[in-house]
């Protein structure tokens, strides 16, 4: 998936499944949208479905540094790169 496709897919998930209103790429997920640890684990499950493969424990732990939608997109791009290399 291209960066635009990933971005669109994530925004769709956050809007539909997490009921975000007008999500901005630079928004702090927790402060602006009440995104919490439960949501983070749920989102990782959805990212696995989106990518079609399961994440390793190490990959999941790396996601704990994510703060913004931009971070989510970069994280997914990196997952794709590492699996393709």
């Amino acid at each position: 998936m291209t960066r635009d496709e990933i971005q669109q897919a994530i925004i769709t998930i956050l809007t539909k499944d997490f009921e975000f209103e007008n999500p901005g790429l630079e928004d702090n997920l927790r402060d602006a949208h009440g995104f919490d640890s439960i949501d983070a684990i749920e989102l990782l499950g959805k990212i696995e479905l989106l990518l079609g493969f399961s994440l390793t424990r190490e990959e999941k732990e790396q996601a704990m540094a994510i703060r913004t939608i931009k971070d989510v997109v970069a994280y997914i791009e990196e997952l794709q790169r590492s699996r393709n290399s």
Partner: protein, 415 residues
Amino acid sequence: MKRRVVITACSAITPIGYGKDEIIQSLRSGRSGVSPLRDDGLLSKHIHSRVFGSVDYPMEYGFKRQYTKTMGPVAFYACQVAKDVLAQSGLDQEFITSGRLGVAFGSTHGSPTVQRDIYKTFFSDLDAKFSSIGAVDYLRSMVHTTAVNISRMFGITGRIIASSTACTTSSQSIGFGYEMIKYGMQDAMLCGGADEYDTTTVAVFDNLLACSVDYNDTPSCTPRPFDAGRDGLVVGEGGGAVLLEEYEAARRRGATILGELVGFGCNNNGGDLILPNLEGITATLRLALDDAALSPGEVDFVSAHATATKMGDVIEAQAIDAVYGKGPLVSGLKSYMGHTMGTCGVIELILTLYMMEQGFVAPTLNLEEVDERCRMLRHTRELTETPVRTAAIQNFAFGGVNTCLLVRDGRTAQG
């Protein structure tokens, strides 16, 4: 330290209506909330009992996803009645989050709907679907899901008691909440119980031959507590909550006092986990009277557990007779809605509070010919306009757990 404990708010979602006006109307008109069993696509076609006490009217909750993500159907009932009682009570946010308010709330087994979805995944082609078991499924389904979803939604930071003792779940919640306040551990407690639509429970009682099966075509004619033609219980669903407060604090803030909890009895039969036990039940009723320092003659009304099983009603009638004789009016309120399981104690307490306020006692529905083994009681056979000052709410559960709550009407409590 022993402090007086009063009820300052209550709310119930029941098969005979949501809220005070609808429920009173149903009690006064003798409307049953028992309906045909719905097809659940799994167990229902194997169950002989085709009736259920259903909440079959639409509920609009309006809860935000921030909260609903950890809630199964049972927690929706719980949070709605909790929201109602907090609003009704007029308690301010500072008190609610102060740690002086606790929650005693339970359900029979969390959310069976969510548990069923988890098991569906377990028994599917695992690897590909394993990740579809959501991280929040445990939070939605766990036994204390009602209590902690309430505390999370309203920011309550006091003690959590999550009783889960089948049919005595909510009566224990109320009793333990009462003791928390009475002995100074908390200043207020939000107490109650909820149980969602669940055919697993029906299947269990069905297999025990304890469910009603003879009135499948006429659901409103069952259950029939104390009636010679009774043939078992009807499982139901619902939710109920009461707010308990320390009396002096409630008075100081000008709260409306709906009733006073004056006694709580609770014990265990110490033996068989299913069969009703006359000795254990009788002891519970006496424990509550001792706790309240009341004589049996001071109790005007008994809300009997009365599930309409063949032996349960007879044993309970013997216990009531042994303690009260023909003194108080006796009604089996499950006749209106079936057995709402973990919720029944709080719903029966709330119905009793409504009847105390309005000055009437609802009759036991479907009580056409009293079983000769239950005839020694003063059954409520018709709508009776009468003041009720002190009432007993009796509940008994699988596992041999027995409870009795004694409540005094609000006017008397206010002195």
